[in-house]
Homo-oligomer: 355 residues x 2
């Protein structure tokens, strides 16, 4: 990739040879960093940061100034699309995101319009353009969105949920309305990710954070199908380079074969499966990304290094691995622990790939 | 089993032929039943019910008066052991269980004593004896306990948790203390389940509700190992009959082979795996119990019947299935929906086993 100084991340996603395993960290721009907490306190709310392209750019770059990460990820929220659909996103400290106007029935779903991202979400595409400019070809920028199923759970429940009872009740009692909602969301996510790609995102990830709440067949009907629709609709090229797509369905390790069959380039995996088994399940179809338990970062550096080696050894030799956590980094992690992890993954994997 | 009118449940757990698939429901004695809510309101708190053998017996029997269930399960709480260890269990409405004195360091762990169940938990064994008397040989009674790992999470966190950060930090920073805690809990659970068996429990289930929070190898180190220790230490016979042991590790579908290798008779499975794959993973080693998504019970009865058939068809022909949900029934389920489920599972599986 002629425009990038460090293209290990993109190469690994396309299962091409790399000199060492690339690494980035879900939620690498976030609350565990004191410089993030300072900027957040000055800005006001989380959404004041996310909707201001200058500040979103600054937050995106903060972890890259500290750590030799192999990719940047757009600082934003997964709920920007429902917000642009008019649901009224707000945050309550300690309770997470909420919507002022949840969507609960067929009439409310029929009334939803698919938002034009250049009109309603231009703060995101502006941030993408600004970050690309600031990155100046050092490492690639990842764009992202929530999956239709995951967005739908927040829209129907009105916020976070323990068992997603309202959303599942909608799926089982009025499947037509549920599918109309999921289809509108799939259209919206496709347009949104294509707008991020057009603005400069060099890879995109779909976060299906709550896919694991669904039963084996229900997952395929209510989540997988709509992610496949998005993968089909993405313009996966930018400046003549392939734009890889990563699907991350947390808690869905029995679905890895089905996820690989969508045509995505890579799958995120959580820490409840060994990368050895994950690789056996997907074969040569996709790359893998993961899968250290974020809680390991609370351990002393010596233990962090041992656990990182276990992840790398479990994947084994050959291309197709991006090192990451199996979920986002948590606020209580000391930043120097993350530094120790990144350094060791890079050193250990460079040794392993020596001839 | 000469003493039982209906021994389908025990036969299925031992992978013996049955005329139809037996069914019971996790949390079948609970808040979705108006008669439970009435008794609970009269008694005061949840623990006022659980610690009174007369009331615990009455609550245990309530669902059996409504539905033709193939087993009763002792009404109790999974946190009776830590309470007997002196941690001070209490409940806060909407927040779940809490401990007055959480266990956070090596000194607190060293000070813990393994409780004698006949002394500190006699309200449980008294309830078991009373329920057996009242059941009068109609269906078997299931005893249960939380797993050492699951009990440890509540003891260290002081209550419920989202990501178990304190407990995992203990495991990774002071593994010796973590193992001491888990070993004491394994001893306590073994004695507690043996006391339930001696009092009349005809099968026992270990609820490893939070096993799925652990990484692939960490699960084997911090949860599986201690469940295996318990399985080894159980007196699995009562009145000359085998007492089957069921392990239910929620969110641990990649561990089914390892769980089967503990020597347990059956494994509970959640709804994120098809019973077809679960059966392939465990072969002839164990029976399976599960795995309908509890949220399906919010659907209209026609959809409930379709989904129940899907579970039964996925397991396929041959012995070794106990029908259940993949987790406990939730308070908002209409009792008549559960009635429709049980009736259909029994009718459909009787048809399927006809020659």
């Amino acid at each position: 990739m002629k425009t990038l100084e460090n293209d290990r991340f993109l190469r690994a996603l396309l299962r091409q040879e790399v000199d060492r395993t690339p690494v980035w960290i879900m939620r690498q721009a976030g609350r565990y960093l004191p410089e993030y907490r300072k900027l957040r306190a000055e800005a006001g709310s989380f959404m004041d940061l996310a909707t201001n392209p200058e500040l979103a750019c600054e937050v995106t770059l903060q972890p890259l100034r500290r750590f030799p990460l192999d990719a940047a990820i757009l600082f934003s929220d997964i709920l920007t699309i429902p917000d642009a659909m008019g649901l009224g996103l707000y945050f309550v400290t300690g309770e997470g995101p909420k919507f002022e106007r949840p969507v609960r029935d067929a009439a409310a779903i029929a009334a939803l319009a698919v938002p034009d991202p250049e009109e309603r979400l231009s703060y995101v595409t502006d941030a993408v353009r600004k970050i690309r400019q600031e990155l100046a070809g050092t490492v690639p920028l990842i764009g992202f969105s929530g999956s239709p199923w995951t967005l739908a759970t927040y829209m129907v429940e009105g916020g976070s949920s323990r068992n997603f009872a309202r959303t599942k009740a909608l799926c089982y009692t009025d499947p037509r309305a549920a599918h109309e909602l999921l289809d509108k969301l799939a259209q919206a996510v496709t347009a949104y990710l294509n707008a991020q790609i057009a603005a400069g995102a060099q890879a995109v990830q779909i976060f299906d954070s709550w896919g694991g709440a669904l039963g084996f067949e229900a997952f395929q009907e209510f989540s997988l199908r709509y992610m496949a629709q998005i993968v089909d609709g993405l313009k996966r090229e930018q400046d003549g380079q392939r734009v890889p797509v990563i699907l991350f369905s947390k808690g869905c390790n029995t679905q890895l074969e089905a996820l690989a069959a969508t045509g995505a380039d890579a799958l995120g995996v959580d820490w409840t499966i060994s990368l050895r088994e994950a690789r056996q399940r997907v074969g040569q179809q996709v790359a893998l990304q993961g899968n250290l338990d974020p809680s390991v970062l609370l351990a002393p550096p010596a233990r962090i290094r041992t656990e990182a080696e276990r992840v790398l050894d479990s994947f084994g030799p050959g291309p197709g691995l991006v090192f990451n956590l199996g979920h986002g980094i948590t606020p209580e992690v000391p930043p120097e622990h993350l530094g120790a992890l990144i350094k060791h993954v890079q050193a250990y994997s460079a040794r392993s790939t020596e001839p």
